[in-house]
C-alpha cells in the first residue's frame, strides 16, 4: 500500500461527491455528497501524514487533526440537517430547485 492508492481513492470519492452535489436535487443527498467530498479530503490528508516519512509526533498530530475535522463536520452536519428540516416544514419539500425566492 502506497500513497498513490490513498490519492486514487480520495480522487474517486471526491469526484463522486462533486457529481452528487451538481446532479442531485434533493438537499439531503447534496449534503451527503458534501460529506463524501469532505471525507475524501480527510483520506488524502491521512495518506500524506502516514506515508511521507514524518516523525511520530507529526503523525500523531495528523491523526488528532483528522478526528477534529470529523467532529466539526458532524456538528456542521447537524446544523445543516436542522436547516433542511425547517425548510421541509415550510415548503413541504427539500428540492433545491424550489428554493429560489432570493432570485433577482
Amino acid at each position: 500500500m502506497t500513497i498513490i492508492h490513498f490519492q486514487f481513492l480520495s480522487a474517486i470519492l471526491f469526484s463522486l461527491g462533486l457529481y452528487g452535489v451538481l446532479a442531485r436535487r434533493s438537499a439531503v443527498l447534496i449534503l451527503m455528497s458534501i460529506e463524501l467530498m469532505l471525507n475524501a479530503v480527510n483520506i488524502n490528508l491521512i495518506g500524506f501524514v502516514a506515508f511521507r516519512g514524518f516523525g511520530q509526533e507529526i503523525q500523531t498530530f495528523g491523526q488528532v487533526l483528522i478526528i477534529f475535522v470529523i467532529t466539526i463536520a458532524a456538528a456542521e452536519l447537524a446544523l445543516a440537517i436542522a436547516i433542511i428540516l425547517r425548510i421541509y416544514r415550510n415548503k413541504n419539500s427539500v428540492n433545491v430547485d424550489e428554493m429560489n425566492i432570493l432570485k433577482g
Binding site: L18, V21, L22, A23, R25, I30, V96, D97, M99, N100, I101, L102, K103, G104
Partner: protein, 624 residues
C-alpha cells in the same frame, strides 16, 4: 446679584420665549385662552428679567455682560454661541420686551374669535425669541441665524390670513425681497470670517482697527452687511415689501413692521459701526440711502389713502432718517429715535388697529372721518402719537429728531436742508392722516356706526401714549442721579447738547408742516385739487409709488424669468436627464443584463464554482 445668576438670566430671555412657542404650538387646545396667557406671561417674565439685568448692568458700571460657550470646535477655529449685553443691546431688549408685551395684550382683544388664535400667539413668541437672540448674540453667525428666524416670524405673521391671496403674496414678497439683502449679509459675514478668522463681532472690529483687514475687504464686507440691513429695515430700493406687509394683522404691523424687526437693520449698522467707520465711503453711502428713503417714502406717505399704508411709508421714512443719522456719526441719536419711534409708531399702529376694529376692518381713510367723538380714547392717543412723530415740541419725537438734526449738521451739513424738508413732510402727512380719520364728519356708514374698542385694547394705547409724551425726557441728563442723557448712555463720547438755532428751525419747520396739514385737511381752507393740479405729473408719479412695483415686476418677469428659463434647459437636459436620470437608467439597464447570472438554481452556482476552481488550477499550472 452675582455674575453666575445674571449670566443664566440672559440665556433665559430668548429661551423662555422659545419654550412658550413650543408649548403653545403643541398644546394650544389644552390651555385656557388657547395659549395666549403663556405667550403674554413669557414675554412679561422676559420684561422682568430685562429689568433685573438692567439694574445689574447699571450697578456694574455699564460694563458688558458676556456669557458664551464653544459651539463648534474646529481646532484652529472655534465658533462660539454667546450672548452679550452692552449698552446698545440693553436698549433694544427693553424696547422689544415692552412693546411685545403691550402688543400681545392688545392682540387678545384684536384677534378675538380668530380661528387660529393660539397659533398667532405661538408665532408671536417665536418672533420675540428670535428678536431677542438677534440683539443679544455676540457673533455674526448666531446673529445671522436669528436674523433668518426673525424673517420667518415676519413671513408667518404677514401671511397669517393666508386664505386671502393678497396676504399670501405679501408674505412671499416680504420674504423674497429681504432675502436679497440677507444673501448680501451672509456673503459679507463669510468675507469677514475669511479675513479675520472669527465670527465674534468685537474681535472682528478689534482686528480691523489694528489694521489686520485690508480696506478693500472692509469696504465690500461693510457694503454687503449694509445690504442686509437695507433689506430688513426697508431702505430704498428694497423698501417695497414693507407697505405690502400691512396685509398681516394690525398688531403684527405695530410690533414687527414698525417697532422691532425693521429696527434690526438699524441695530446691525449700529453694532457694526466701528467697522463701517473704517471702510472708505461707507458712511456716505449709508447717508445717501437714508436720505433718499427719508424723502421718497415721506412723499409717498403724503398721497396714500390707506391708513396702514400711510403708517408703513412713514415707518420707512423714519427708518431712512435713522440710517441718515447713523451715516452722520449719530449712532446715539439714531438709537434714541429708534426707541421713541418704536413707541410712537406702535401706538399709531395699535390706534389704527383700534380704528379698524371699530370700522369693520375698513382701512380706507376716505371712508372715515369724524371718529373723534365716537372713539375718544383712540382719538386722543392717536393724536399724541401723531404729534410725537411729527416732532411737535414737548413730545418725545421732537427731542430725538433734534439730536439727529444736530449730528447731521455737524457731519453732513449739505444734507441738512433736505432733511428739514423731510421733517416738514413728516409732520404734514401725520397731521393729514389724523385730520382725515378723526376730524370733520363721517363719510360712510362704517364711520357712522363706529364704536370705541374694548379696554384690553385701549389700555395699551394709553400706556404707550404716556411713553410717547415723556420718553423724550431721557435725552436730558438727570440732576439727581448719574444719568448723563441717552446719548452719553450709548456712547461716552457723546454728551448731551443742544444747538439753539437748530432747535428753533426744527420747531418752526415741524409746526409749519403741521399747520399746513391742518389748513388743508382739517380746516379745509385750501382745496386739495388746487395743489395737485399744477403738479399733475409729480402727483401721478408719487401716488404710483415712483413705479417701483412696476419696475420690479418688469425686471422679474422679463429678465429674471427669461434667464431662469434658460437655466431650466440646462437643468432639465444636463442635470436631470443626463446626470440624475442617466445614472438611474444605466444602473437599471446593466441590472437587466446582469440579472440572468442569478438563476436561483443551486447546481448553477456550484457548477460555476467548480469551473472556476479548474480554471484556477490550470492557470496555476501554466504559471508554474
Amino acid at each position: 446679584m452675582d455674575l453666575f445668576l445674571v449670566n443664566n438670566l440672559i440665556w433665559m430671555l430668548p429661551l423662555i420665549c422659545v419654550f412658550a412657542f413650543l408649548i403653545i404650538a403643541l398644546f394650544s387646545q389644552y390651555i385656557p385662552t388657547q395659549g395666549a396667557i403663556v405667550s403674554i406671561g413669557s414675554i412679561g417674565i422676559a420684561f422682568l428679567i430685562f429689568i433685573f439685568v438692567l439694574i445689574d448692568f447699571v450697578n456694574g458700571g455699564l460694563l458688558p455682560i458676556h456669557s458664551s460657550f464653544t459651539w463648534i470646535d474646529l481646532g484652529e477655529w472655534q465658533i462660539s454661541w454667546g450672548l452679550l449685553i452692552d449698552r446698545i443691546s440693553i436698549v433694544m431688549i427693553g424696547l422689544i420686551t415692552f412693546v411685545a408685551f403691550l402688543v400681545q395684550i392688545y392682540s387678545v382683544g384684536y384677534m378675538k374669535g380668530d380661528s387660529r388664535f393660539g397659533w398667532y400667539f405661538a408665532v408671536h413668541s417665536l418672533f420675540a425669541a428670535a428678536m431677542l437672540l438677534l440683539v443679544l448674540s455676540d457673533n455674526l453667525l448666531l446673529l445671522y441665524f436669528a436674523w433668518e428666524l426673525v424673517g420667518l416670524g415676519s413671513y408667518l405673521l404677514i401671511g397669517f390670513w393666508y386664505e386671502k391671496k393678497s396676504a399670501a403674496e405679501a408674505a412671499k414678497k416680504a420674504f423674497v425681497t429681504t432675502r436679497i439683502g440677507d444673501v448680501g449679509l451672509l456673503i459679507g459675514i463669510i468675507i469677514l470670517f475669511k479675513a479675520s478668522g472669527t465670527f465674534d463681532i468685537s474681535s472682528i472690529i478689534h482686528v480691523a482697527q489694528e489694521g489686520g483687514i485690508s480696506n478693500d475687504v472692509i469696504f465690500w464686507s461693510s457694503l454687503l452687511i449694509f445690504l442686509g440691513a437695507m433689506g430688513k429695515s426697508a431702505q430704498f430700493p428694497l423698501h417695497v415689501w414693507l407697505p405690502d406687509a400691512m396685509e398681516g394683522p394690525t398688531p403684527v404691523s405695530a410690533l414687527i413692521h414698525a417697532a422691532t424687526m425693521v429696527a434690526a437693520g438699524i441695530y446691525l449698522v449700529g453694532r457694526m459701526f466701528p467697522l463701517f467707520e473704517l471702510g472708505p465711503g461707507i458712511l456716505t453711502i449709508i447717508s445717501i440711502v437714508g436720505i433718499v428713503t427719508f424723502i421718497l417714502a415721506g412723499a409717498i406717505a403724503l398721497v396714500m389713502t390707506d391708513i396702514k399704508r400711510v403708517l408703513a411709508y412713514s415707518t420707512i421714512s423714519h427708518l431712512g432718517l435713522m440710517m441718515l443719522s447713523l451715516g452722520s456719526f449719530g449712532a446715539p441719536a439714531a438709537f434714541f429715535h429708534l426707541v421713541i419711534h418704536g413707541f410712537s409708531k406702535a401706538l399709531l399702529f395699535l390706534g389704527a388697529g383700534s380704528v379698524m376694529h371699530g370700522m369693520h376692518d375698513q382701512t380706507e381713510v376716505e371712508l372715515m372721518g369724524g371718529l373723534r367723538k365716537k372713539m375718544p380714547i383712540t382719538s386722543i392717543t392717536f393724536l399724541i402719537g401723531t404729534l410725537s412723530l411729527a416732532g411737535i415740541v414737548p413730545l418725545s419725537g421732537f427731542f430725538s429728531k433734534d439730536e439727529i438734526l444736530i449730528s447731521i449738521w455737524e457731519y453732513n451739513p449739505w444734507f441738512f436742508p433736505v432733511t428739514l424738508f423731510g421733517v416738514f413732510l413728516s409732520s404734514l402727512y401725520m397731521i393729514r392722516l389724523y385730520c382725515l380719520i378723526f376730524l370733520s364728519s363721517a363719510r360712510s356708514d362704517y364711520s357712522e356706526k363706529a364704536h370705541e374698542s374694548p379696554r384690553i385694547m385701549t389700555y395699551p394705547l394709553i400706556i404707550l401714549s404716556v411713553l410717547a409724551v415723556f420718553s423724550g425726557l431721557l435725552a436730558f441728563p438727570s440732576p439727581i442721579t448719574e444719568w448723563q442723557g441717552f446719548a452719553a448712555f450709548i456712547d461716552d463720547h457723546h454728551k448731551f447738547h443742544m444747538v439753539p438755532w437748530i432747535t428753533a428751525v426744527s420747531i418752526v419747520v415741524a409746526f409749519s408742516g403741521a399747520f399746513l396739514g391742518w389748513v388743508i385737511y382739517g380746516a379745509r381752507k385750501i382745496e386739495i385739487t388746487a395743489i395737485s393740479k399744477p403738479f399733475k405729473f409729480i402727483y401721478q408719479l408719487v401716488s404710483r409709488k415712483f413705479l417701483f412695483d412696476e419696475i420690479y415686476s418688469w425686471i422679474a418677469t422679463k429678465i429674471v424669468f427669461t434667464f431662469a428659463r434658460w437655466l431650466t434647459v440646462f437643468d432639465r437636459v444636463i442635470v436631470n436627464d443626463t446626470g440624475i436620470d442617466g445614472v438611474g437608467n444605466s444602473t437599471k439597464k446593466s441590472a437587466d443584463r446582469l440579472k440572468y447570472f442569478q438563476s436561483g438554481y443551486l447546481y448553477n452556482y456550484s457548477l460555476v464554482m467548480v469551473i472556476g476552481l479548474f480554471l484556477m488550477a490550470i492557470i496555476w499550472w501554466v504559471i508554474e
